[in-house]
Assembly symmetry: C2
Homo-oligomer: 296 residues x 2
């Protein structure tokens, strides 16, 4: 990752307009920034909460934009509701990462018994609690939520056959999140997952991070019978065409019981801004250029 242009220009006073640029392999997204609300070098990374001109508050970790108040619902709904609607009756959910509380908020919209969130960086949770109320919506304080500051890699080793859905809402496979992309972690995660459970992970941008996408898919296929990427658009991530990968030992994604999904959806519809059964189906439609390159 190249140094962030923002870091160079923010304090120089040379330009009237201040931008935070998130760049990867010759492509970048930038947001015009009005104010730095919070900035801290934690044990793991540099955490910033910025007030942008037109995308609300922004959480950045090191040189990358993690989420904005304006478009966060797309990422958070799509990573959460695809597995939670596919599962006939999810009761116990594990979220690894997700310290901003957005995934937790979406998970709690379902009639689940318990959601455990394991975030490695306690400072991310602290900053989010204070500055990102519009994202976590007090989900941290829900009776069904257990919020743990700790390493997801260690956490999963303690559980066997315990979770219906495991959501990996991590940063990219560098730094603190690197261990979340190893064989060992996948093996332990599968042990923690129930036989009929679902694992879902963010798997990078199709154009800017093809290698990460491709590697995640290959790795998942080593451990699961049924694996499928699904796609959406996350405007503030560089190149925006975003992938998740979902896996199951027993469930064939091509045989989706859409009627059951639609029935469940009708009960939650009013609480959702992006996800719908039709969007769900559309997300699994793979363009030919992806299908052809998926093994490469």
């Amino acid at each position: 990752m190249k140094p962030c242009i923002f870091n160079m220009s923010w304090f120089s006073g040379e330009k009237k307009e201040k931008w935070f640029y998130d760049d990867i392999r010759g492509f970048c997204c930038g947001l015009e920034i009005r104010k730095v609300l919070y900035s801290k070098k934690s044990k793991f990374q540099k955490i910033q909460i910025l007030q942008s001109k037109s995308w609300g508050r922004v959480l950045t970790l090191d040189t990358t934009i993690q989420t904005t108040e304006r478009d966060e619902f797309i990422y958070h709904e799509m990573i959460s509701h695809v597995p939670l609607f596919l599962h006939p009756n999810p009761k116990n959910v594990l979220i690894i990462g997700g310290g901003d509380g957005g995934v937790l908020r979406e998970v709690l919209k379902h009639k689940i018994k318990k959601a455990v969130l394991v975030e490695i960086d306690g400072d991310v949770i602290k900053a989010s609690k204070k500055y990102l109320g519009k994202i976590h919506c007090n989900s941290f304080y829900d009776k069904r939520a257990e919020v743990i500051t700790g390493d997801g890699i260690d956490f999963v080793t303690k559980y066997k056959n315990a979770f219906d859905v495991i959501i990996i809402d991590s940063t990219d496979p560098v730094g603190a999140a690197e261990g979340l992309f190893t064989d060992k972690f996948y093996k332990n995660t599968i042990s923690a997952l129930r036989q009929d459970g679902f694992l879902v992970t963010q798997s990078g941008a199709i154009f800017a991070q093809w290698e990460e996408f491709s590697k995640t898919l290959k790795k998942m296929k080593k451990f699961f019978e049924y694996v499928s990427p699904y796609l959406t658009v996350v405007p503030i991530y560089p190149s925006s065409f975003w992938s998740f990968t979902i896996a199951s030992k027993n469930f064939d994604f091509k045989k989706q019981p859409m009627l059951r999904i639609e029935k469940k959806y009708n009960m939650l519809k009013k609480k959702l801004k992006f996800y719908s059964p039709k969007i769900h189906q559309g997300a699994f439609a793979m363009p030919q250029f992806i299908v052809e390159n998926m093994g490469k």
Copy 2:
């Protein structure tokens, strides 16, 4: 539109890395640039062809990125094939704008009789012919293609009931393209369209250009019985979540004969990288936040 940061830094020699930034309302996309291959101030706009680090050649008009060799197929396939597959038997197609030849290339994949391209800026066609061979793929020289340098606004007044599909592949509603967004132009275009024809236009980015999207939709609804937006992702346009709007006097989009589309698709499948009937269906799935705000 703010001044392009690229224009300020490119010649200064202060930074090693050179970027072209396309920014709109506090959000930007940027591409790292290796070389300026072509640069001309035409009668209408500043045209540049740039060699980027990782997205191939790039066409820019004034301060906006129009297309890159790497992701152009998404935009060009989606604006062309949705109307061309919906129409049972398209013979005569009109393209307004589209001087890079990408839409023309896609249109000619169908068994049509004639495709007329009317581009206001002859210099865009000249530059594209010379530098963007990977985009136009010699479509300009196809026997079924008629390439006209002229104003689409005047052009459509000369035709009545003449075209099966009209594609408006314009820049945003500022400068040369402004007239393409007026009531008068829509009225004349409808006269040029056959009774059972389709009009499709790019209608802007959902997040960065909501006003443009909303206005286009309202205007189309004034003149057509059936109007629907459809969505895709264009990585290099700021905020990427991209809309097209398609309209017809007679055809209800909710009653899509998907079987017929699939049959036609199977014959063209090998020539397409992005479009498929499933992608087509998915593109019409509107997230709730769009549905709710569509009248606003």
